[in-house]
Amino acid sequence: MFLTPWPIREFDNHENELDAIWIAIMRRSELIGRFAANKMAVAGGIIVLALFVVSLLAPWMSPYDPNDINLGKMLLPPSPDHLFGTDQLGRDVLSRMIWGSRISLQVGFVATGIAVLIGTILGAISGYYRGWVDAMIMRLVDIMLCFPTFFLILAVIAFLEPSIWNIMIIIGLTGWMGITRLVRADFVSLRERDFVQAARTLGANDFRIIFIHILPNALASVLVTATLGVAGAILTESALSFLGIGVQPPTPSWGNILTAGKDNIDISWWLSLYPGLAILITVLGYNLLGEGIRDTLDPRLKE
């Protein structure tokens, strides 16, 4: 599931490799057990999994073509034919929501992937080398944190075309600061440890020490932040699409269905209610999963 190349340090302490492997297996099953005992985390995992299934099976699950315009069926309230009603062009809202889940998934993962990549590399360099490189990167983080993120995203989008790729890239480019700080903090303490010294004595170069030896030990906090980051990216995308500067119609996204909800606010509540609920449940799922992973990997952090 979320297994990291975890017990790297364990291998150092055991001469017998079989012992080490055994311990690794025990450790993993213990982690899985702890995760399974956490009801909130399991609920989050199920929600996230269900979303994957829905977006994967969108062509077979959606009852209608999401872009099938039918002006005879405009703004129909929910009925057995159209469970979530129809929009201002007579399109089936449920079908559009099912296809919209693909957008959320895509934005969530690509944007977070970019943020994690930048954040991890900058944080690792900063925490490993310290000195003026560290000072420069940390000041850059401070400066970036001064900008209201939403302002920065809007300003950049105003200069570029609001396509889905641009949006994913911009959300990623404005969301790496937290991860940088986390990874840096981990590296600052890990670089002083004996196993790093050992690796250096054995002649490993900086690249190898950073990425092979230290990074795997810092991945736990990255994984948690990334899971929570997916939730944040989905929220941001839906807000942008809602404002009409995100995913452009006719491509369905939960945010731009809500725009139609706002335009027809006095007649059709269903256009506002259901897509928002979908966003809420999705974000809730990722948040629960993220917190669950944190509690599993590091029970000391549990409140």
């Binding site: 400066i143 900008f147 302002f151 300003a155 200069f159 809500l258 928002g276 974000v283």
Partner: protein, 324 residues
């Protein structure tokens, strides 16, 4: 104390410079040059006019020269003129809209404190009670709720279904004929939904944070000492524990400023409130670059000021910081 504030102010200078560099970098993202937009829209433009504009923006000079002259104009708050037909100075456009945005953000910060702190304290003091569990549920739901969606639902319910609250603008149509008291009430009525929506995002986070702080403080030795010397539970919690648990919240409040300002785009657009956020949204839609750059810069400066205020109030509240 004055030395401390002076030090914080000095620390702000490199950040401010960094902000201008990033703003300038974003501005250079524009495809083509800023003059194209002004001239392409204008049928009267000629090659000669384009050249003059180019010279005005000093686009023919190297990048660092451009940056320095832009910075020079920034210092005297000359943010250029809007690309809109009215061609008004950007600084004027922003300044006339800033007060309402700041008013709403201050009100919502106040609301956050008034609700989140008691919730956090109570759920920490009665850990694992039904109240604690209910607020935990609320917090998780709150984190996941898109504020613009909640705004839509509240508009439908309170504005359209019940008809209690107005759903757009700051004033009713007959505002001018109202008595002063009625006018104030009218304004307040228009502010209820926007302020609540703008506060909502922070509520969950800060009450959670307050709860964690309080739990941490309650476990400290000095709380045990206070109990051991026979103080009443109320005195222990509300005098000894609360004061210490409140300290870090000041910093978090400062850190939540960029989120609040960023959120103003969303709620001002939804509720049609003539503030800076709405101006920003309209400028993005019409690609009014000078206004976009101006607001981006002002937003970052407001964040810096928020952080400074948080640092100073932290120092005022915590003698340990003041003395070091």
């Amino acid at each position: 104390m004055i030395r401390y504030i002076g030090k914080r102010l000095l620390f702000m200078i490199p950040l401010l410079l960094g902000i201008t560099v990033i703003c300038f970098a974003v501005m250079r993202l524009a495809p083509g040059s800023p003059t194209d937009i002004q001239t392409q829209m204008n049928p009267k433009s000629s090659v000669e006019l384009q050249e003059r504009l180019r010279a005005l923006y000093e686009l023919d000079k190297p990048l660092h020269v451009q940056y320095l002259s832009w910075l020079k104009r920034l210092v005297v708050l000359d943010l250029g003129r809007s690309f809109m037909p009215d061609q008004r100075p950007v600084a004027d456009k922003i300044l006339e809209r800033l007060p309402i945005t700041i008013l709403i953000n201050c009100l919502s910060l106040f609301l956050i404190m008034a609700i989140a702190i008691p919730i956090g304290v109570l759920s920490a003091v009665h850990q694992n009670s039904w109240f604690d569990k209910a607020t935990t549920l609320f917090v998780f739901a709150g984190f996941a709720t898109p504020s613009f969606w909640l705004a839509l639902l509240l508009m439908i319910f309170f504005g359209i279904h019940l008809g209690w609250l107005p759903i757009s603008g700051l004033r009713s149509l007959n505002y001018e004929y109202m008595a002063p008291v009625a006018a104030l009430l009218d304004l307040l009525k228009h502010l209820i939904l926007p302020v609540f929506i703008s506060a909502f995002g922070g509520l969950a986070g800060i009450s959670r944070y307050m709860r964690a702080n309080m739990l941490e403080v309650i476990r400290q030795d000095y709380i045990m000492t206070a109990r051991a010397k026979g103080l009443s539970e109320r005195l222990v919690i509300y005098k000894h524990a609360l004061r210490n648990a409140l300290l870090p919240v000041i910093t978090i409040m400062g850190l939540s400023v960029p989120g609040l300002i960023g959120g103003s785009v969303i709620f001002e657009t939804i509720f049609a409130i003539p503030g800076m956020g709405q101006l920003f949204y309209m400028s993005v839609m019409s690609r009014d670059y000078p206004v976009i750059m101006g607001i981006l810069f002002v937003g970052a400066v407001l964040t810096l000021i928020g952080n400074l205020l948080a640092d100073v109030s932290y120092a005022l509240a915590d003698p340990r910081i003041r003395q070091s």
